[in-house]
């Protein structure tokens, strides 16, 4: 199914948000995830299913400044 990831449409297999993180090899502790403009608690990643048309945002830590 099609979901939007960081603004770009992508074809993904169904499953949960955590499954998507695994496919993308993203360490769950290293990212904040928003689905349809709602911030997901980290312990809800495994219980939140992905649906057709969902808008997923991965927000990575960005720490530099000097």
């Amino acid at each position: 199914m099609q979901v939007k990831i960081n603004g770009k449409s992508e074809e993904v297999q169904g499953g949960t948000v955590l499954d998507l993180l695994k496919t993308k090899k993203i360490e769950p502790q290293m990212v904040a995830v928003e689905v349809n403009d709602k911030m997901l608690e980290r312990d809800h990643l495994a219980t939140t299913p992905l649906n057709e048309g969902d808008q997923v945002e991965f927000l990575f830590y960005m720490g530099g400044g000097r």
């Binding site: 960081n6 603004g7 993308k24 090899k25 993203i26 360490e27 502790q29 290293m30 990212v31 904040a32 928003e34 403009d37 709602k38 911030m39 608690e41 980290r42 945002e57 927000l59 990575f60 830590y61 960005m62 720490g63 530099g64 400044g65 000097r66």
Partner: protein, 270 residues
Amino acid sequence: MDFTEEQINRYSRHILLPEVGGKGQKKIAKAKILLVGAGGLGSPAALYLAAAGVGTIGLIDSDVVDLTNLQRQILHHTADVGRPKVVSGKEKIQALNPDVNVSMYEERLTAGNALKIISDYDVVIDGVDNFPAKFLINDACFFANKPLVHGGILRFDGRVTTIIPKKSACYRCVFKTPPPQGLVASCQEAGVIGVLAGIIGTIQATEALKLILGIGHPLTNRMLDFDARKTQFREIKIKRNPHCALCGDHPTITELFDDGDPYAGCAVRP
């Protein structure tokens, strides 16, 4: 406070703007802005805020200028290598605009000194390079009830967001805690394209001036991410999180603390 003829000339391009005018320029002249970090982000912010005529600029930095800083930290020149950044910064600011008072803090921001320092200022700009410090600044601005302009740069990516405590999403609303240390690379390992500091730092300065002037729409409840490879900005909507440990409905953080080792890494991207 009245401007001299020279000052009216100096700030004429501001004063011409209906949104600023003489009144707004006086607000700028009375403003006190704190730059935490006189490095990559702090440099362009300091220079533009100085040029704008900000009354007081506070500089906190415990470092001395290193040769590797000069690729992006434009507040410091080659002859400054080895000198304290706050001293070098103050000189450049006052050479650009002698109207500006500069307060120097040659130290790190800690849970012990943060509230005392921050409470003297109207707006705080985050220009630090590590997560514990970014969380500390976020928390301190919450407790001191001061607007914060957060910034981050890494490799080819930058990010800015403005945080009005108790009104808009804070850093902990999105990122609850600093990332686990083992997974984080250091700034030295990661690298950064120098001009990115200019892009993000000047957006931070813009936000600070808007807050001082009370004009436009602040970058609140939005994270503005910039990708220098594509020259693309992307805006991510964020919201106050009722579960936020700091500003949520049932806060568990009730006083300042140092959230992790300040020498831990700065860069994260899978």
